[in-house]
Symmetry: C2
Subunit: 250 residues, 2 copies
C-alpha cells in the first residue's frame, strides 16, 4: 500500500509520499513514489503514484520516452499546459493498460494504479490532478484543496478539519506531516522514509525537496508534539453535564 497527499493552496503546492512497497507482508521494499520534472523558470511538474509498482513504473517510463497525444509525441517537459500534462499522464496509463491489461487480467491481477499530478507551467496557474486507472482525472479546487491516493482514510480527518485554500504553505507542510504520521501509526504497509516537495506559486522552481527519515528531528518533534497536543486538547474539552448528572463522572 501507499499514502500520498497533495495540497493545492493559494501560496503553492505541497506533496508528500511514503516509500513502502510490499508484495505480501514479508516482502517489503523502499521505492520512491515521487517523480519530478523541472525546467528552471519555466515549469515544475510532480507525479505521485500508488498501486501496482510494475504499472506505475511503466507509466513513468513511457512518459519519459514520449507519449502520443493529438498527433504529437510529448513528454512532461514539452506539454504546453497542465491540462495537457494530465491528459498525457492519462494517455500513458491507457497505453500501459492496452499493453499489460489482458495479461494481468489472465493472471487474476487487477489493473491497480492511481496517480497525482501537480505543478505549474509558465502561462498558467498551478494545478493539481488525480488520474484514475481509466486515464480520466479530477482536479483539486478551492472547495476541496487536497487530494489523496492510496491508504487515505487514517490521514483524512485532520485534512478535512484544517486545510483550506488560504492555509499558509508552512501550515500545509505541518498538516501533511501530521496526516502522514497518523497513517504510519495505523497502517504497516505505509512506511518511512517519506518524500516532501514544496512548490511556491509562480516560482517555477522547487522550493524544497527533502527525504525525511525516522531520525529527522523535526518529524519526530511533529509526531511527538502532535500526540501531546491531542492529549492536552481532549483533556481541556469540557465535561458533559449529563455525565455528572448520571453519577458516572466521578
Amino acid at each position: 500500500m501507499t499514502y500520498c497527499v497533495g495540497l493545492h493552496l493559494r501560496e503553492g503546492l505541497v506533496f508528500l509520499s511514503d516509500t513502502r512497497t510490499n508484495a505480501g507482508v514479508d516482502n517489503i521494499s523502499t521505492f520512491g513514489k515521487m517523480q519530478v520534472e523541472a525546467v528552471p523558470h519555466e515549469r515544475v511538474l510532480v507525479m505521485l503514484s500508488a498501486g501496482n509498482l510494475a504499472i506505475t513504473q511503466a507509466v513513468w517510463s513511457r512518459l519519459q520516452e514520449g507519449v502520443s497525444l493529438g498527433g504529437e509525441t510529448l513528454t512532461l517537459r514539452s506539454v504546453p499546459s497542465m491540462f495537457r500534462a494530465a491528459q498525457l499522464v492519462g494517455q500513458a496509463v491507457r497505453e500501459v493498460y492496452a499493453a499489460d491489461g489482458p495479461s494481468l487480467s489472465a493472471q487474476g491481477v487487477g489493473f491497480d494504479i492511481s496517480l497525482m499530478l501537480g505543478g505549474q507551467i509558465a502561462g498558467g496557474p498551478p494545478r493539481l490532478f488525480l488520474v484514475y486507472a481509466a486515464g480520466n482525472f479530477i482536479e483539486a479546487t478551492a472547495d476541496t484543496p487536497f487530494l489523496q491516493i492510496g491508504e487515505h482514510k487514517y490521514g483524512k480527518p485532520i485534512l478535512d478539519r484544517a486545510v483550506g485554500f488560504d492555509t499558509p504553505l508552512i501550515d500545509g507542510v505541518k498538516l501533511v506531516l501530521i496526516s502522514m504520521d497518523s497513517t504510519l501509526r495505523s497502517n504497516l504497509t505505509v512506511g518511512m522514509p517519506i518524500d516532501l516537495l514544496v512548490y511556491r506559486t509562480d516560482s517555477f522552481g522547487v522550493a524544497l525537496r527533502r527525504r525525511i527519515t525516522e531520525e529527522d528531528p523535526y518529524f519526530r518533534a511533529v509526531s511527538e508534539g502532535w500526540s501531546r497536543a491531542l492529549r492536552n486538547a481532549y483533556m481541556a474539552l469540557p465535561r458533559p453535564d449529563w455525565l455528572a448528572e448520571a453519577g458516572a463522572g466521578e
Copy 2:
C-alpha cells in the same frame, strides 16, 4: 456502513454506535445498533452490531429466544460468564449462517456481520469481545484497550494516540465522541444520532445510556472545540529549520 467503538478501561467500559443503515446512498434509515441486557446488581451486557441488518437482527432475535450451547438453551440473561456470553453470540451467528448463508450466497450477497459484546457478570471482571462472521472472537486487553467495528479507519488515529487502559472513564467518553465525530465528517454512511453507554466496573448497572442528537449542545461543543484545538495545535508546532533554510518558509 456503521461505526461502533468500545473501550475496555480500568474504570469501566464505554460503548458508542451510530444509527445509520443504508441500502444504497438513496435508501437511508435509522436503526439503533446497541442492544442491552441488564439484571440489576448481577449483570450488564451490551452488544453493538455492524453489517447486513437482516443478519444482525436475526442474531439478536435468536439470542433473545435462546441459543443452544453445550446442551443447554441459554440467553444473555442466563449465561454464567462473559466468556460463555461471547460463545453464545458466536453460536447465534453460526445458526443464522446455517439458516440464511446458502440463500444469501445464491443471491451473491456476502455473510457480512461483526459484533462487539462487552459487559460484566457477577463473579468475573468486565470483558469486551469482537465476534466475527465465523462466530469466533477476540478480546480487548490492557495492551489494546479498544475495539472497533464497521468504518473504523477515520476514527482510529485518535484512539491509537490517546487511549490507554488507565485512561479515566470521563476521558474515554470524550475520546469515543471525537473518534465518532471524525468518522461522521469523513463518511456519509455513518450518521447521527449516536448511542452512548457507560458502564462502571463492579457497578452491575448502567451508569449512563444516552441517545445524542445533532442538536446535543455537548456533542456540538466537542466537535467544534476539537476542530479549534486541532487548528491551535498544528499552528503551535514549531517551524521546520529546513523550510527556512530553503527559503520556502516566508
